[in-house]
Amino acid sequence: MIWNEAKECMSRDEMQNLQSKRLVKMVDRVYHNVEFYRKKMQTMGLEPGDIRGIEDLTKLPFTTKTDLRDNYPFGLFAIPQSEIVRVHASSGTTGKATVVGYSRRDIENWQECVARVLAMVGLGKEDKIQVSYGYGLFTGGLGLHYGAENLGATVIPMSSGNTKKQITMMEDFGCTAIACTPSYLLHIIETLEEEGVIDRIQLKAAICGAEPWTENMRKEIESRLHINAHDIYGLSEIMGPGVAADCEYHTGLHVYEDHFIPEILHPDTLEPCKSGEIGELAFTTITKEALPLFRYRTKDLTSINYEKCECGRTLARISRFKGRTDDMLIIRGVNVFPSQVETALLELGETSPHYLMFVDRVNHQDTLEVWVEVEERFFSDEIRKLEYLTGKIAHVLQQALGLSVKVKLVEPKTIERSEGKAKRVIDKRKLV
């Protein structure tokens, strides 16, 4: 179902007009209310009047996570604190937390975007949606929660963790959809299988995001649970989950362009990429009141497609993420993304989808070791067969990465299961 046909199916011309109108107003408001941007624009010799429409978007300065940190906590807010109704913050695993704020109107727009996603997934008032993202400063839990309420569905606010309880509620309440990270959903599936209750649950859809995952992982989730799994994208700096999501055709994630203008930038030059080219995704928010951002660099790598989708939506689609500019490992000069390892392992289909990449430097030479778990269905009492399996995995990975890989078989459940974002890489190289 299309939640807001007027916005999701408007023609490209109408969309560009709407974006232009909103952008011009936003630039004016930001210039007068946010010192950081005013100073930046003044240094560049740019006045609000210079931005007359989206064709002038590229004149605006970029924003990075560092800018948010430098203005910690509320320095970039464009409205008085009395108008802020909520804040969220990123986990700050790579530095100081980044804090984001919302006006009442921002929260309403967020609920609208998430309701669009859930309707696109095929959910409605009759559905019971289990929200297993963490609740709190992280945007995942509350973002999905209010969107699902806006849709009119019944929300089960589980938050993450306590998998046994998740499963009990899922079964007892007859939950029809779950929202969580894909790696946590895999962990839930494993537990359902172990408990032998997988046939008793009534899930029909999963809304997964907050970490990169592959098309194969989506198919694996779908076939093991007999459901539809959808990719939801978002980041707290821009709003939270619901910036984009994929429809039933899974040919890219529809971006809610009436709120966020996407751009794809060449990772080195930061010049706009051609349609279809892979580059870094950047967003300019055009309705945000509390924390409007110009050309915020997400570090996520993707490409964009403006063609109308088979589902009827005209919203631009960004392709499934190829990785993040900061996830990319350079091993012996070769660019490696963890998602390549995941794709290769799932295509082989002979190991569990849990893996860990160990990168080290021995005698000035980079080494890559990939740990895979020996699942019961692939275990053998014969060393010959286990060695054959190791060799086959190493071969497939070498083909995929263009790099020799040492494969290590480990006991099941050795690789840490994450209830939030999965940790896939340990880089022990000390660069001196």
Binding site: V374, E375, E376, F379, S380, D381, E382, I383, R384, L386, E387, K408, L409, V410, E411, P412, K413, T414
Partner: protein, 142 residues
Amino acid sequence: MAIKQLSVFIENRTGRLEKVTETLKENGINITSMSLADTSEYGLLRMIVSNPNEGKRVLKEAGFSAMLTDVLAVKLPNKIGMLHELLKVLEDVNIEYMYALATNENASMVIKISDIEAGKQSLVKHGFELVSEEIAYKINES
């Protein structure tokens, strides 16, 4: 008749083998025979135990990859040349691995072969006696 061997995947990490024996001990399962195959990264522990199904269940619960495999246990009179006789009988099947099964009187061998049925028939035809499940699992229990 084939008997069930319990096989477990063990990483080369401190205390993993001990965790297996601890799990079996706590669940009252006796190990009547075992063999440990090792590689540089991991080991494979193969055992004949008093209750193979229960053994597999408790090890899985403890987080191990464990499986049951059909193997043959053959009685061998304690005389010179008997192992040689046994192998001659099995020359048409591929022996994957073998190890000794502890018994009170005679020796016995546990053998994993490519074709259990063919191997079994040859052995019986040449007068070798197979150890039954009841006996193999309860050997040495007084």
